[in-house]
């Protein structure tokens, strides 16, 4: 039986990341007590949000922003786990989530399961589901250790408000920053500015891949996204090639998106790409090769040359919308 679940509500911008609410939703479904650990945010504001999702207590670690979160946050979470007697910990499959979970796993000498898309109760324990082969198969696994350390992919479960809001207690806990390993200092931060809606929140995502031919042709993707009020995305191939920044990447190592429309242009549909966009409501794919895997999952697949088709499509949308 899971009685106490600790979740990591990592920061994003000035608040907590939306995935924290997904973790809270999942956690309260299997555990009576849900403790959220927050850092680098206004703890009271975070607690108010988390209360809506059924979190029963909040522990704030204050400001850790000068160091990479892995060491200090894992150290503090270990104390929280001990204090509340947690038997499950959920983090997001994010940069921060993975670093913290890895450290915590060593501190507690307990294994981890990552890339989870669902966690359910079964026979008093937890069954963790993850997708393999680009989402073709679901693997169900179980941790047989006393504590379950799990990283959950963002956008796997919908965040839902609890039937009634809680009134979580908020406690402060200081982090001990003097551990031997806590030497990774953040010297400076750089934000790559982008226009339009956020990739993982947009209703329409237009993504380009190597089939665009060259970096310059990515402007078609930007133009389309702009006309459809969507966000721009990319396959890893063109991120690696330096055509667009990492923040554009959709897929296993990039963002998971679940828009109303995903328009994939010149993307083959490698398993690692599909796992990040298969949840889209509607998929349109444009690809020169009729055997490209992406066409197997597209609601509308167009076999053709993107470089010829995109200018015509852009023109047609312009005419219709008068843009």
């Amino acid at each position: 039986m899971i009685t106490n679940c600790v979740i990591l509500a990592e920061p994003q911008g000035t608040g907590i990341a939306p995935v924290a609410l997904e973790l809270a939703t999942l956690a309260r479904g299997i555990s009576e007590q849900v403790t959220a650990v927050v850092f680098d945010v206004d703890a009271q504001a975070a607690a108010e949000t988390l209360a809506v999702y059924g979190v029963t207590s909040v522990v704030s670690l204050g400001d850790t922003s000068s160091h990479l979160p892995g060491v200090p946050v894992a150290d503090a979470m270990r104390e929280v786990v001990d204090r509340v007697g947690a038997n499950a910990v959920f983090v997001a499959q994010s940069y921060t989530g993975r670093d913290v979970l890895a450290r915590l796993s060593v501190l507690l000498d307990a294994p981890v399961l990552t890339n989870a898309v669902n966690v359910r109760e079964d026979d008093g324990g937890l069954v963790v589901e993850n997708l393999v082969f680009g989402g073709e198969k679901v693997v169900s696994s179980k941790i047989t250790a006393p504590i379950q350390l799990i990283a959950i992919r963002p956008k796997s479960v919908a965040a839902e408000a609890a039937p009634s809001a809680t009134q979580p207690s908020v406690t402060e806990q200081s982090v001990s920053a003097n551990s031997q390993a806590n030497r990774a200092v953040i010297v400076s931060s750089h934000v790559e500015e982008r226009q339009g809606p956020k990739l993982d929140e947009a209703e329409v995502v237009v993504s380009g891949g190597r089939g665009l031919g060259n970096a310059d042709n990515y402007r078609y993707i930007e133009e389309l996204a702009n006309l459809l009020h969507g966000a721009t995305g990319a396959s890893r191939a063109i991120v690696d090639a330096g055509w667009v920044p990492y923040a554009y990447q959709v897929g296993q190592t990039g963002k998971t998106v679940k828009p109303n429309l995903y328009l994939a242009v010149g993307i083959s549909g490698a398993t690692q790409h599909m796992v990040g966009m298969k949840g889209a409501k509607n998929i349109i794919a444009i690809n020169k090769d009729k055997d490209a895997p992406i066409l197997q999952i597209a609601d509308l697949g167009v076999v053709g040359d993107a470089q010829k088709l995109l200018p015509r499509l852009i023109e047609a949308i312009r005419q219709k919308t008068g843009a």
Partner: protein, 253 residues
């Protein structure tokens, strides 16, 4: 300086992937190849070694059946030597177990810097590098898209959700690199020939004084809800009309 590069040897991902119904593990093909993700790590290590003026680059790998083919590729690229740990008990090893084995090899060879990839192609747990660091009590500079060594200070550009951070730490440390950081070199003919005689040490768990218990179990592998192909049209010069129709249907336009 001694650089250890974690290299995973995997079944060729371009071949059909299947799951063994009894062990519920991925079936391993006949050939083990160097995981593409780790080719980047090898390349980075070789470049850092060149800059540092001749450091040793040791490949470390845990493989179920003493596989060395993948490791040979890394040696052919220019690594100095390799250590491969194999043991029947390691079949289906989880990330923490893998990290314990790798960390123990790092101690044994007394490396100052460990390089790994962000995630492997077949397992993609994505936690092994930070677990290795934690076991060693070292910092983990994760998700590096660029790495530099100034004296004994590591400086990386760490990918973030919306850009990157510059992160620094003094050696010893672990760095995990993302793909695309550098272009891995192709082994030259000379490299391939010399790789054949480079030292590859084969160890068992006993040699490392380790015993493992695997606390994870796969219960079932099922088909996921399938998404099927819809309508497919050829662009005869007017496919934009089909797309416009579809956009109207789903009320995007």
């Amino acid at each position: 300086m001694k650089v250890a590069v974690c290299v995973k040897q995997i079944s060729d991902p371009s071949e059909a992937q299947t799951i063994d119904p009894t062990s519920m593990c991925l079936n391993r093909g006949a050939k083990a190849i160097l995981d593409d993700s780790d080719a980047y790590g090898v390349e980075i290590a070789l470049r850092l070694a060149e800059v540092a003026g001749g450091a040793e680059v040791v490949l470390i790998s845990m493989a179920p059946n003493q596989e060395v083919q993948g490791v040979r590729t890394g040696l052919a690229m220019g690594a100095t030597s390799a250590v491969v740990v194999s043991d029947p008990q390691l079949a289906g090893a989880d990330a923490l177990t893998t990290a314990k084995v790798l960390a123990s090899v790092v101690k044994r060879i007394d490396a100052d810097l460990v390089i790994a990839a962000t995630e492997s192609t077949d397992g993609y747990t994505g936690t092994v590098p930070a677990q290795v660091a934690a076991l060693l009590g070292w910092p983990a500079l994760t998700f590096a898209k660029q790495i530099e060594l100034r004296g004994s200070t590591l400086s990386i550009q760490r990918q973030t959700e919306d850009g990157y951070d510059v992160v620094e730490a003094d050696l010893p440390g672990v760095v995990s690199v993302t793909a695309g950081v550098v272009e891995p070199r192709y082994p030259s003919f000379k490299g391939i020939m010399s790789a054949k005689s480079k030292p590859v040490e084969q160890l068992s768990l006993g040699d490392l004084g380790l015993s493992v218990a695997i606390d994870e179990k796969v219960l079932a592998v099922n088909d996921a809800e399938a998404r099927t192909a819809g309508q497919i049209v050829e662009d005869d010069g007017s496919a934009e009309a089909e797309i416009m129709n579809y956009l109207a249907q789903i009320k995007v336009l």
